[in-house]
């Protein structure tokens, strides 16, 4: 490359400089691919996503190396505010030349960012949000949803638990759309597997911190499984109180948390979390691949080992980079849809999830695992928390395509 800048370029640059202003407008470099990790870094989802997501994304970039283009990773904290998430996403796509936005937990923010991505024809690879609408009602040809959604959680935890002997259920449900939806979906799978739902206690959300009366109702119902259709701090509180009330003593009742991550189990501690069942699509100790991946990243995030969101950030970034390399950087920068089409046309292959495919509607089909949390006495070391109870193969774990309600697939 000629290191001397042509004079005309310099002049044009000097003339344009005042126009650039202080808005930190990134120069559009044809040779640089930018990935923006947008998630909660200071609030309730700090550990389930947060900086570990960015670390896993950078790990993928590092392993990918240079294949004719540079890759930059930028991060931002959306503080779980949809308008903030949407405005950062817009600015990234419009001004900072970001080609893909990664992670984005919290369904409302995810849907807002997905709408921006659709409008700008840029890639949004969601690993953090639960809503199945991302590949359903709100689907778009430039969106990929990787790791989990409400349907898969309900099917795995609901259906598989019944098969493992948890035939009668009682729900404690956060009384808003997310909780209700989870309860509806899970009920359907429990009943389809031959189980019974004995009752449910919806509780006002947000603001409920005392779950004692609901727990007593659950206890007196005689159900074998207590299903928690809530998330975050509510799940943690209800589990703690259930243990204090002795619900799980002598194996009378087991708790199934509908949305929980290994990072939450770590926060609770095995003394409290033991016996819980939950679903994830990744666990560091599943096989040689997952162990190898975790060994590579754990020194970078020693207190927060990867959960399925983090693993998906790694695997998704890797697959995205492969697609861009296959397409050529120039074509890739032009169209998000082209990149995602390429991603869908190639089989995914990574240490975390193995070999899988991305379906037409943008959903990654990977196996789902029903885990049970180990007793403290069974745990041999740091983060040794899960035993695998049931594996749902990729073909069965997810919502069938004809039920997804994704408009562009039908067309």
């Amino acid at each position: 490359m000629n290191p001397v800048l042509p004079r005309r370029t310099l002049l044009a640059g000097a003339a344009a400089a005042p126009l650039v202003g202080f808005g930190r407008r990134a120069r559009a470099q044809a040779n640089t691919l930018r990935i923006g990790v947008l998630n909660d870094q200071s609030g309730p989802y700090r550990d389930t996503g947060g900086t570990t997501s960015a670390i896993c994304c950078r790990q993928a970039v590092e392993e990918f190396g240079s294949q004719g283009f540079n890759v930059e990773v930028v991060t931002a904290d959306h503080q779980n505010k949809p308008d903030l998430g949407a405005s950062i996403a817009r600015e990234w796509y419009d001004r900072n030349d970001v080609d893909m936005i990664l992670d984005v937990p919290t369904s409302s923010v995810a849907l807002a960012v997905a709408a921006v991505a659709k409008e700008k024809n840029k890639v949004h690879l969601n690993t953090g949000a639960a809503t199945a609408d991302l590949t359903g009602k709100a689907c778009a040809p430039c969106i990929v949803h990787w790791s989990y959604d409400t349907y898969m959680l309900a099917k795995s935890t609901g259906g598989a638990t019944v098969k493992a002997g948890g035939t009668s259920w009682y729900f404690i449900t956060a009384d808003y759309a997310f909780g209700q939806q989870l309860q509806r979906d899970t009920t359907a799978f429990v009943q389809a597997a031959g189980g019974k739902v004995l009752g449910a206690s919806p509780y006002p959300f947000p603001g409920t911190t005392d779950f004692s009366s609901f727990l007593l109702q659950a206890q007196s119902s005689g159900a074998k499984v207590l299903g928690l259709c809530n998330a975050g701090g509510d799940t943690v509180n209800s589990i703690k109180q259930a243990v204090e009330f002795g619900l799980t003593k002598n194996g009378t009742m087991s708790i199934a948390a509908m949305l929980m991550f290994i990072t939450d189990v770590n926060a609770l501690g095995l003394d409290i979390a033991q016996g819980l069942s939950l679903t994830e699509s990744f666990y560091w100790d599943l096989n040689d691949g997952t162990r190898a991946f975790t060994n590579r990243v754990k020194s970078k995030t020693p207190n927060n080992w990867p959960n399925m969101i983090h693993a998906a950030c790694y695997a998704g970034t890797k697959h995205f980079l492969k697609a861009v390399a296959g397409l050529g950087i120039a074509d890739a920068k032009k169209s998000g849809k082209a990149i995602v089409d390429k991603m869908k046309s190639m089989q995914t292959d990574d240490d975390c999830f193995g070999k899988n495919t991305i379906r037409e509607d943008g959903l990654l089909l990977c196996p789902a695992y029903l885990f049970q949390v180990k007793k403290p006495s069974e745990s041999k070391g740091k983060w040794d928390y899960y035993t695998t109870k049931v594996t749902s193969p990729a073909a069965e774990a997810w919502k069938p395509l004809n039920e997804s309600g994704c408009a562009f697939v039908k067309a």
Binding site: T51, D77, H78, S87, R90, D94, S108
Partner: protein, 316 residues
């Protein structure tokens, strides 16, 4: 120009500041990101509406998010489902705010001080739970993918810059309205109520109806701000009705300067700017915000604009 501004009740200093602000609004989109600026303007309008109550009537409403949020829900819903044009949707948002404000205000103005604040907070929380449960708001997903409805049904709002001029127009219009109200005889009575309510009563003013009118007006403008914001971003979500939003608008007003006409605008710029441009700091963002707020409260007791005004011995 000067004659026009004087007739609107602008003092010389305020007139200069106003012209400066309009120039900045006109130049800013070519320097900064227009979507960010639109957000600032929406929040600035919201803070101005709030300031009308706290700054000029002395009523601390702790539930302004309800009017802002429902304004944005109604504007978003009507624009999406009825395909209304932008100005009608925004106006409906404002009317929703005013309607809600009439009901809530009628109850709340019967009490003073902290009790007034608590009643507004309680009513706003009711509105929040309604938004959480009602089917039309979409629960925690909110109303998504609201189209940017064309203005007057014809002028396309697809480009950010077009939308920006609309938002800037709405902002300046209602900013002038609030300024006009504050500097009218009606506004003088409001200030009298703020300074000494029993005296205003003894002078024969029906204080309650003045307060209620100001309250409704403030809620109307808050609804307008909410409606505008929902069309800019194409979403209306629970964040807008949450009590944290009520807190944020208090913060903006305090930071900029209570009872100054330009203070809330400055406050909105700072708070929104920090939120947007500190987002890259990750876990440090809330810490930095806290430090800056503490510093502002310690250094600028009257708010930033209030302090500048005091230095220059002018009222801004």
């Amino acid at each position: 120009m000067t004659g026009f501004l004087a007739r609107q009740g602008f003092s010389r200093a305020q007139g200069i500041a106003f012209v400066l602000m309009v120039v900045l609004i006109a130049v800013a989109p070519f320097q900064l990101y227009p979507v960010f600026l639109m957000k600032v303007l929406c929040f600035a309008l919201f803070a101005c509406a709030f300031n009308l109550l706290i700054g000029y009537v002395g009523l601390l409403s702790f539930g302004h998010a309800a009017y802002f949020g429902f304004g944005s829900y109604v504007a978003a819903w009507t624009a999406k489902n009825w395909g209304l044009s932008a100005e009608v949707a925004i106006l409906l948002g404002g009317l929703t705010g005013a309607g809600l404000g009439t009901a809530f205000g009628w109850l709340a103005i019967r009490r003073l001080g902290i009790y007034f604040s608590m009643i507004t907070l309680a009513l706003a929380q009711m509105a929040y739970f309604f938004a959480l449960q009602a089917p039309f708001t979409g629960g925690e997903d909110g109303i998504q993918q609201v189209p940017r409805a064309p203005l007057f049904g014809t002028i396309s709002m697809q480009s950010d810059l077009h939308t920006y001029w609309l938002v800037a127009g709405v902002f300046i219009l209602f900013f002038l309205l609030i300024h006009r109200v504050v500097h009218s005889p009606f506004g003088q009575v409001l200030k009298a109520i703020r300074e000494n309510e029993p005296r205003a009563i003894s002078l024969g003013y029906r204080v309650d109806s003045y307060k209620l009118t100001a309250f409704i007006l403030s809620c109307f403008v808050a609804g307008i701000a909410g409606g505008t914001k929902s069309l800019v971003f194409g979403i209306a979500t629970l964040t807008d009705v949450n009590f944290q939003m009520s807190g944020e608008v208090v913060l903006m007003t305090l930071l900029g300067g209570l009872g100054t006409i330009f203070g809330p605008v400055m406050g909105a710029l700072i708070v929104t700017g920090m939120e947007q441009y500190f987002a890259q700091l990750g876990a440090w963002v809330t810490v930095m915000q806290g430090v800056i707020f503490v510093a502002c409260v310690l250094l600028f007791r009257r708010g930033i604009v209030g302090e500048i005004g005091a230095k220059l011995k002018i009222i801004l």
